[in-house]
């Protein structure tokens, strides 16, 4: 019997269980998935004393409103998120990067992310989830992962398998910053585009379109002209690849992307900028900035050091 559980009063827009994702399945068409913003995922787990790769709930824009039933439990929320905790008649304004204790009957209302897309909720313990290919990550398009491959829905129960009794109060001073210049390495089809098109790609501003989700981010801007072929032989993709289809507007592949694609690749976002890229809300303006492979590797080392440093401060 699982006596500890959350009752979902409101599921939110796109709330799913996520962890580090699945490896070695691209060749059968199953994408990586996993938490979109890796750093905030890791920080959430650390704040409640979990293992670094434990499942969390990822939410987009509006998060879930949950009522807790069971023994005392610790929770933490990361990202840039507004939320409230209701304890009896007390209504507390929540703060990100800080652990909070929930008791039987308490409510957690994750109202929304602020000027960002994704936030993370971790609990001091483990959710009762189905793992597929060693990951709980939900891929709603392919119906793979926990919760039968579906996002959370209203009135559902989230059962908790185990509480780790880790009630240390943890806190971190950290503020997410918004990215304006996305650094990219030239793609394998960079020369498919006209000189003017290449200039537009690196000089002009692009706007993040509403048609963006965990699969991809569409951008709108001045048309990038293709002078060779608007199709290539279908070939493998990775996250961060920027494809430009015939309409001349770039699409960036994100964590749930199709594993194979047939549009020319103008560039690839550097690994160091991926966490910040996924947090761009529709309407945000961005520019692309070219870097070479060496710089990209150095940037990643710095990004990773900063992440490790933040984790060690908790």
């Amino acid at each position: 019997m699982n006596k500890n559980y959350f009752e979902i009063i409101r599921a939110g827009i796109n709330s799913t269980f996520q962890d580090l994702g699945r490896n070695n399945l691209y060749h059968i068409g199953v994408p990586f998935s996993g938490a979109m913003d890796n750093r905030n995922y890791l920080l959430a787990n650390k704040l409640v004393g979990n293992d670094y790769d434990d499942p969390v709930i990822e939410f987009a824009y509006q998060g879930p409103h949950l009522k807790y039933h069971g023994d005392k439990i610790n929770i933490a929320i990361t990202g840039d998120v507004s939320f409230k905790i209701k304890n009896g008649d007390n209504l507390i304004d929540g703060e990100c990067y800080q652990s909070f204790i929930l008791e039987n009957g308490d409510e957690l209302d994750i109202i929304s992310t602020n000027k960002s897309v994704y936030g993370y909720l971790a609990i001091s313990g483990t959710f009762d989830l189905k793992f597929q290919w060693s990951s709980c990550s939900t891929n709603t398009k392919a119906k793979i992962g926990s919760n039968n491959g579906e996002k959370l829905s209203d009135n559902q129960k989230i059962t908790i398998k185990e509480i780790n009794n880790n009630f240390v109060n943890r806190k971190l001073n950290y503020v997410n910053t918004k990215i304006e210049n996305i650094r990219v390495i030239k793609g394998t089809n960079f020369n498919y585009f006209s000189e003017e098109g290449k200039k537009i790609f690196f000089k002009n501003e692009f706007k993040v379109s509403k048609l963006s989700d965990r699969m991809g981010m569409r951008l709108e801007g001045k048309k990038i002209e293709n002078i060779v072929d608007t199709n290539i032989r279908s070939e493998g993709l990775i996250k961060g690849v920027i494809q430009v289809p015939a309409d001349g507007n770039p699409i960036i592949m994100l964590s749930d992307h199709g594993t194979i694609g047939g549009y020319p690749k103008i560039g690839v976002v550097v690994s160091a900028d991926y966490d910040k890229l996924v947090q761009l809300t529709p309407g945000s303006k961005v520019k692309f900035q070219e870097v070479d492979l060496n710089s990209a590797e150095t940037l990643f080392k710095l990004y990773d050091l900063e992440t490790q440093n933040l984790i060690s401060q908790i």
């Binding site: 691209y26 060749h27 059968i28 070939e235 690849v241």
Partner: protein, 224 residues
């Protein structure tokens, strides 16, 4: 053989096997894929074979482009370890409700419906790769006279089991998905089963496929 290795971003190798697309080149790609998979190189997190490319992505915390390139440059492909080709017969029903684009194809190709099917069902197909959506096989080669472009506007929803044609290839939609291929029939067979973690794909690269036409009655009463 790999003609050139370049970087795709900062966390992937892009191995190019040349411009041509044929069985021999694709067999090379698959051999590389299997050899690298067996080697279990630390840091490699995905290997994606396609017609004439192999993309190897990795965890930048564990390895980088130059180190991995050196390993791949020096890898020995064991030729004796030939690919096990499995053979499958895939039942297809071509009733009107399933052959959504056959009339369009008749017009595009200027070939009668029956001739299109005749040539399609006579062919033994080779699986070049799987992907885009989970388990979708890319099969070739269609006869020259059956090669058509994608739909001008892709469908938002292509039904599960649909058999599509585009250029020299046929594919099978393993679940409902958006798509722009010309749909000529539907199979009752389940091509992808995510509950089977070991072998979720019915069809894998290198396999040989023959399609077999079935009646609507057989389709409706089909049991795997």
């Amino acid at each position: 053989m790999i003609k050139n290795i370049s970087n795709l971003g900062d966390a992937a190798l892009y191995c190019d096997f040349g411009k041509e697309v044929n069985k021999d080149i694709n067999t090379q790609v698959i051999k590389y894929f299997k050899t690298i998979q067996k080697k279990n190189i630390s840091g490699v997190n995905n290997i994606t074979p396609s017609y004439n490319k192999l993309i190897i992505s990795f965890d930048l915390k564990k390895i980088n482009f130059n180190k991995l390139k050196k390993i791949i440059d020096n890898i020995e492909i064991i030729d004796g370890d030939s690919i096990q080709n499995k053979k499958f017969e895939i039942p297809v029903c071509c009733e009107k409700e399933f052959s959504l684009d056959i009339k369009r194809l008749e017009e595009k190709l200027k070939i009668k419906e029956e001739k299109i099917y005749e040539s399609f069902f006579e062919k033994e197909f080779f699986c070049y790769m799987t992907g885009f959506i989970a388990g979708m096989p890319f099969l070739g080669d269609l006869d020259e006279n059956l090669r058509a472009k994608r739909l001008d506007t892709p469908r938002v929803k292509v039904p599960k089991g649909s058999i599509g044609l585009t250029e020299q290839f046929a594919n099978i939609y393993t679940f409902e998905s958006p798509g722009g291929w010309n749909i000529i029939g539907n199979t009752p067979l389940n091509i992808f089963d995510s509950t089977k973690e070991k072998e979720p794909n019915l069809i894998n690269p290198g396999d040989l496929i023959i399609f077999k036409r079935i009646t609507k009655e057989k389709y409706q009463n089909y049991h795997e």
